[in-house]
Amino acid sequence: MTNKIMCRMGDGERVWLPSEQVKEDILRGTQDAAERAHIPELTSEDCERLFDIIADPSKVVSVEPGEEVIVTDDAASMLFYADQENSGQGIPMSRTQSLLAYERACAADTISIGHTDYSYKQVKPIINYETQEYYNASQMTTAPFFYGSQPNMGLYFQPDGPYPNPAELLPEGKISQALEAQEIALEHLADDLVYIGKRMNAVGCEGFNFDTAASAGDADFKATLKAVSKLKEVAPGMSIEVGMSSEFVMGMHGDMTYNGKRLAGLYPHEQVKVVEEAGADIFGPAINVNTSESIPWNLSRAVTFVKATVAVAEIPVHPNVGMGVCGVPMFEVPPVDAVTRASKSLVQIGKADGL
């Protein structure tokens, strides 16, 4: 197979692509990101470097010594004992055992735990158990230790929550009711996030992670920002990381603002600025993978967004690199050839401060 490079598609399928097509996909990917977000495309040197990374004949690639960054996560240690839906391995281990294994066997720079049902609404009723678990584990862990979960404002709408569901109201033309439901739900969510954060801080929580912020749109994002801002006042010793759910904040409400900045439609280089304003310490952009496009296309697109974000960020930027985001194939057993290429590209070209 002369002049063909082993690549992956966004769904993980292995394909052999001509080098010309890889280069074309890299160019199309960066152009897509640049056009959508009005940010610079990757330079020709960046594109060549990205091609070299993708075309490397080695199965696994890495950064060079001295270029390493740190990793944060959303309860990666859970993968030891979790179920298949979480890509978990189902090993009968406790959370503390899995944490220590992740710290000492996997050499992670930071570690974290969270509720198996990884949403803050589910955490609130069992907060005593969670604080107990965190506190006990924190006495044994050496690496920085986060508690994480997802704001997931969608759980506050019927049938899971108390408020009318905008997803049902909008198609019925009940616009004002849909907006009102989101406005009320975001305050409830923000209150819950602050309550949980304060309780975790009281047991010495070292880091608090808001994962997949804005998953339910701009109101979800606003609730997170409000909570971050409040927690920075009442729990200044607790580091806060905000990870996003998508490269684009959906305008489910459309009129949500934070300090005068409209949240709907924000791209990562804009998202980081409001997250900084709220007071967070680390920002994690998420660029969704298009499973119909190749990884060269997806990775080029992700690196373009990340590079633009890092260029304007005042705080560390840790792109989300789980399956389906930032150039990692959307497959529960992510191919390590693609994963390590995403890793290397985001660090060397995107200049990420972590992953």
Binding site: V60, V61, S62, V63, P65, G66, E67, E68, V69, I70, V71, T72, D73, D74, A76, L79, S87, Q89, Y102, E103, R104, C106, A107, A108, D109, T110, S138, Q139, T142, A143, P144, F145, N201, G204, C205, D211, S239, D281, I282, A313, E314, P316, N320, G322, M323, G324, V325, V328, F331, E332, P334, V336, V339, T340, S343, L346, V347, A352, D353, L355
Partner: protein, 112 residues
């Protein structure tokens, strides 16, 4: 990092791009990002200065294994009696001149 099996996702990323946690100095650099919002190069320089080593040595296992044992700030292999957990974090907080929430909680309980 997010979902994906342990080997294919977090482990692959750690091998490809990460500093290696308490095997080397990854946790120390992470503390500087978390507590002082330092970007990666600044965080590495800060930690290297505190340890009295070159930045490139931060991820050199042969150097960092000894540095960590000498400073007793937590090592990857299980040496009986060596600092682990909250004791190691207390020493790290002093070494890096940072505030660590869990350590401050312990201090408050001990009246320190």
């Amino acid at each position: 990092m997010g979902t994906g099996d342990i080997f294919g996702m977090p482990t692959a990323h750690v091998l490809a791009s990460a500093m290696g946690g308490i095997r080397t100095a990854g946790d120390l650099v992470a503390w500087m990002q978390m507590t002082r919002k330092m970007k990666i190069d600044e965080a590495k320089t800060y930690v290297a200065d505190k340890l009295g080593i070159d930045v490139i040595a931060l991820t050199d296992e042969e150097i960092m294994r000894q540095v960590r044992e000498d400073l007793d700030i937590g090592i990857i292999t299980s040496v009986s009696g060596s600092a682990k957990g909250i004791v190691a974090k207390w020493k790290i907080a002093e070494l890096l001149d940072i505030e660590i929430n869990s350590v401050n909680l312990l201090k408050s309980k001990l009246g320190i």
